[in-house]
Symmetry: C3
Subunit: 320 residues, 3 copies
Amino acid sequence: MATQSCLRKLMAPSTANHMGNVHGGNILRLCEEAGRIVATKYSLGQVALVGASQTQFHSPIHVGEVASVSATLDYVSRHAMRVSLKVEAEHLESGRTRETNSSNMWYSIIDVKPRADGMTGVEMIRGERPIHPLHPSLVAPDAASELKKNAASAARLPLSTRSPKEFPVTLQVTPDVDSISNHPFVSAGYVLKLMDEAGAVVAAAHTKHQCVTVLLDKVCFRTPIRLGDLCTVRAGVTYTSSRSVETVVQVWKTELPGGAEKEGCGSICAVEARFVFVALGDNGKVVEVPELPPDQRTIRWNAGAAKHEERVAEKARAKL
Amino acid sequence: MATQSCLRKLMAPSTANHMGNVHGGNILRLCEEAGRIVATKYSLGQVALVGASQTQFHSPIHVGEVASVSATLDYVSRHAMRVSLKVEAEHLESGRTRETNSSNMWYSIIDVKPRADGMTGVEMIRGERPIHPLHPSLVAPDAASELKKNAASAARLPLSTRSPKEFPVTLQVTPDVDSISNHPFVSAGYVLKLMDEAGAVVAAAHTKHQCVTVLLDKVCFRTPIRLGDLCTVRAGVTYTSSRSVETVVQVWKTELPGGAEKEGCGSICAVEARFVFVALGDNGKVVEVPELPPDQRTIRWNAGAAKHEERVAEKARAKL
Amino acid sequence: MATQSCLRKLMAPSTANHMGNVHGGNILRLCEEAGRIVATKYSLGQVALVGASQTQFHSPIHVGEVASVSATLDYVSRHAMRVSLKVEAEHLESGRTRETNSSNMWYSIIDVKPRADGMTGVEMIRGERPIHPLHPSLVAPDAASELKKNAASAARLPLSTRSPKEFPVTLQVTPDVDSISNHPFVSAGYVLKLMDEAGAVVAAAHTKHQCVTVLLDKVCFRTPIRLGDLCTVRAGVTYTSSRSVETVVQVWKTELPGGAEKEGCGSICAVEARFVFVALGDNGKVVEVPELPPDQRTIRWNAGAAKHEERVAEKARAKL
């Protein structure tokens, strides 16, 4: 069974953000697509993204370059697969390539069945068929501990995230047909792109500068989104260091028609993730970030600070 | 039942026209989507746009800004709902917002049924279920008279519009999958975008300058368009003032395969609307418009002049 | 029965390549759409592109211009139709039009049936219903010989093309929903756009300059591609003259899930074509092309040289 795959795509101008580089959200979408292909090939079933971790943006990709996403399956539990992703950009005229992104994405097998609530349409449920174990030589050493850590942090998720009032509405859309993949649900890649946009919006409003993504972490997909659902994306700044802005982004879905009469009733928090941005000055250099005022800090500030210190320590270790 | 909704979207470079601002057609598409959500939520049924009026473009939206469309249901008759729409643009770095557009859109409940003519596929027919009356405190005072006026002007529509030869073909396309919403018909928003493009093409050809939309009026959707139908968009300049160009735009649909052997047989005028443009010089300032030569004027010239004077008077009243 | 059709479209910024002109692939996609409409209207059945020949790019189309594609049916055999296509670009401010492209596209009637191998989904097979003969006055004199020549060259196709190892992977994608037309297969226009991109990538890597398409020839569609299939596009430089680069581009499809465990097993070469490019310097002028080193030449070098001389001779004849 195949455990590797690669997508290669020429980056067209329509993939650009308004600074002229490829939109971080489009890179996430490409990664999710590559990961889904490997997980589908290995499990021989339909799969859906359930989480992502350690997604890093090292360097921007420019329009006109070829992006290559290599996807390697490196961990399989009874019901989940981890795909490790590396993105490289190739400049055609010089022939130079550089690594621009990396991520780990987690997939589960799903079944698509008629809806249990008797409404028309289908629903996506976690498949029960176990996944074939991965050959031990292919297993990444860190994956099992990552799985455990993610499960633990999902359990510790502060209850406040169940309240839709934590952050103001940042973006609100109904996904269009372009957003679906080959089953009738909105692709996780589209959702990640939307969340990245929402995070960039609040980060830009806070810093008064354009912001680019450097890190995406702790993504947890709780329930799938259907074509035609209203997606309310709520984002807020939760932590600031001198050079970075941490945002938490949630996607609340409301099924239409009917839907929520009052917000909070019919809406479900479908996804939550943590995006870290840096702000760029007019010359494209990283600029200082204003501190989040104490009265706007929540329980998430300390978690953000801990995460930030962990990352600084990791970088220091990497330099040794 | 909810009578309000909001869409908020970051305007990506792919939404731009070739002057670098957000394409007026994309704004119309966003408005139609927001209006459809409110009408769907209120009526708990599938709805379709049947008309639009008083659509105004006050100021352009720039790529990189967040556009917010607020939609408020403010009138309900037995079979139609009016949604009033306001678009605001928010500049992220400065935090400034400004109103850029406003419109009233009319929706009816529809049913999607197997085709009456025995062909495969479905057709869209006006739903018979009456809509729940709106609480009197939410009813806009001008809506009932607008409904009456629209019905009257639809009856007065000159017969010449039934002839497909009135205007030359401006654009001709088959809508792609991206154009459909959640039922198998092309979304009204896509059609409005196409019409706006066609109007801009004839306005630019007349003025020899790039043109931007300032007003869209008298939209009447007579019959839905299916994915795969050939859309022939016919547009012509019907009136000119010193600073504006009025165009009338029609969408003729032809069903494929089979379709029209000779134009005019199998083609139906599905939509007609009136778009007003201003021409921009190289510095982005509004420039003078050459007068439409007398031999190119039709019965529509006088109607255009009356509309123009009405609008000038309204503006003068607004300034008092 | 109609034997002519026309598509007219305003070229939006999202159709541009990274030099700011309309992407050659988008022009091919528009041509294929126009050709499909005429063939559908004439045969009153579903049709698919089986080949294209003599596709030439005379001059670029700029963003903001209106592209008109006129399609004329000019040959019908028992199972194939040839549509001759001409593309004109119209500059709106000056009113000037110029011919920018021309092509001949071949279509066959197809039937869409449940899959013969018992898997879910449908397959596309060549329809058996004969096509109504074309009135002799409408038949193009060169079409019958082109049909014979294409059939002969398809038979002579070197066996090496059955090996997926001939060229390295250039692009690898899974087509998205936007790629399908009105039957559940990826439109030929989308595939041509993808191949054009892949050819431009290897041509740019060879010349160290941006490249634009001047000619597309010998396209042969062997089997349709489904939504969700993995498309591996393999391209290589096969011939160089002092001013042009010939590339051969193949699309290998792999059905997912299951798919190829080892490349070459489950993959089928669905399409092959020959694209010729010129390289542009920073001033937009055509620049000299470095010769392909002798050790990188294959059996295709001589075929490329013969084709090149034929084209030079044709141009000389045209000038007389």
